[in-house]
């Protein structure tokens, strides 16, 4: 990964962290969403759920602390925070499906203007599986997708309709990219924030559906 790419991921993760309020239960997806945990300040109490069966996921262990029986949902070795708990997978998804998780932050390949998410399958490529994503998008009280604003060909990833097979229909509440923060509302996609270095026109030009832009759109927001 080039350092530009790494910085872009860090910028998105830092912005996404602001979506997490004090005293909340949060599920972070595999990949870029996992980075969000690095930016949670110490004065914020956040309980991270790992859907393999852990509430209270802590930082990576030191070499001495490594425990082969203790991993997160990305199968990485982790530690636990004080007050953590373990449970089986049925219990884990009961707490997800039962809307006990305040926020889920996931990665995305495509999002449509009505909040459809595609992030698990590319036709013609071998399908590795959806893991817990299809359950999580229906379970969390708030679903936030973080991703690059455009694909590697500079084409929009926020579309009128997804071309890729869906993970869930009408499930996303907010999109955070390297360029903007956009909410999915009953009226359509609403531009909330624009990142430094971009204009309103830049965002619209790289977003397929028309964006609702009210006067209070925050420019140079992150």
């Amino acid at each position: 990964m080039t350092s530009d790419k790494a910085m872009q991921r860090e910028k998105i993760a830092k912005r996404a962290e602001k979506e997490i309020s004090d005293d909340s239960y949060v599920n972070l997806g595999i990949g870029m969403p996992t980075l969000v945990a690095n930016f949670i300040p110490e004065n914020k109490t956040v309980v991270l759920q790992s859907e393999n069966g852990l509430l209270g996921t802590g930082p990576f262990p030191t070499e001495e602390e490594v425990d082969p029986d203790l991993i997160n949902a990305g199968k990485e070795t982790v530690t636990t925070v004080k007050g953590a708990s373990y449970f089986d997978n049925a219990e884990s998804f009961a707490m997800i499906r039962g809307q006990h998780i305040d926020v889920a932050i996931l990665g995305g390949m495509e999002i449509s203007e009505n909040g459809d998410l595609a992030n698990w399958m590319i036709p013609g490529k071998v399908v590795k599986g959806m893991g817990g994503a299809m359950d999580i998008v229906h379970g969390a009280k708030r679903v936030i997708v973080i991703m690059d604003h455009v694909n590697k060909n500079e084409e929009p990833k926020i579309l009128k309709a997804c071309k890729l097979p869906l993970t869930g229909a009408g499930v996303v509440n907010r999109i955070i990219t390297d360029r903007a923060v956009i909410d999915i509302t009953p009226e359509g996609l609403k531009l909330i924030q624009v990142a430094q270095g971009y204009t309103l026109e830049d965002i619209q030009a790289t977003t397929e559906p028309d964006l609702i832009m009210e006067e209070n759109v925050e420019l140079n927001a992150f």
């Binding site: 991993i71 990485e76 009961a94 959806m130």
Partner: protein, 231 residues
């Protein structure tokens, strides 16, 4: 009292060709390592394996895959395994992918005598094609049937001679629900205890679900070692 078997080969000797087997674990954590190795030695074929993942190329269920023993694999994420990809593309292996929460609940329901249930996971996605969808309070749900298996192979940290099991940390994962949903559940445990030596308040799987036990030493391979420097 439940039989405590002394040989892994003997523990699985009634598993024959074509059996459907639940295998506990998430990634390589909490897998019944020695029971899987015994299945490889037994060379039973045409197995339907239900497990969240399918091991890695040279460990866990990847060993059975490599040995061409699996006919159908049911899981939620199988991306860690090149041989899996090769066999699916060549048509040698049938794969069924199920959302992780649905997989867990189908197994839980199987052990609990619930024939089917509705869940929102998968509505509007390829997995909902030609499936029954029902609307409750304005929201759509997919009908999912429960699952049971001929055998469940699970791993626990501690087991007593009544079959009660205690798991360690995230090695619990699918093991308790699979223990309850297998017609014959074989528990590979790290330590065997006398009846009464485990605190009844701390039991995760009550012994009623377990048909036989065997003690073994695990390698506990780590799939993704991630560490931080001392703070």
């Amino acid at each position: 009292m439940k039989p405590v078997i002394s040989s892994f080969d003997e523990a699985i000797q009634d598993i024959g060709d074509g059996a459907t087997i639940f295998v506990g674990g998430f990634g390589l954590v909490g897998i019944p390592e020695n029971l899987i190795l015994a299945l490889k030695r037994a060379n039973v074929k045409d197995l339907t394996i239900v497990s969240n993942n399918c091991g890695i190329d040279d460990w866990g269920l990847g060993l059975l895959l490599e040995n061409m023993q699996i006919k159908k694999m049911v899981g939620s994420y199988v991306g860690e395994n090149k041989e899996f990809e090769r066999q699916v593309l060549s048509g040698e292996l049938e794969a069924e992918l199920i959302p992780q929460g649905t997989l867990a609940e189908r197994i839980r329901a199987g052990g609990a005598g619930i024939p089917a249930f509705y869940t929102p996971a998968g509505v509007g996605t390829p997995i909902a094609e030609e499936r029954e969808v029902r609307t409750f309070d304005g929201k759509d749900y997919l009908l999912e049937k429960s699952m049971t298996a001929d055998f469940s192979l699970v791993r626990a940290a501690k087991g007593d001679k009544m079959g009660n099991l205690i798991y360690n940390k995230t090695a619990r994962n699918f093991n308790p629900i699979m223990a309850a949903a297998g017609r014959v559940t074989i528990a590979e445990v790290e330590g065997i205890f006398e009846s009464g030596d485990l605190d009844p308040d701390q039991i995760h799987t009550p012994g009623i679900y377990v048909q036989r036990l065997i003690q073994g030493k695990q390698e506990k391979r780590i799939e993704k070692l991630t560490t931080r420097k001392e703070a």
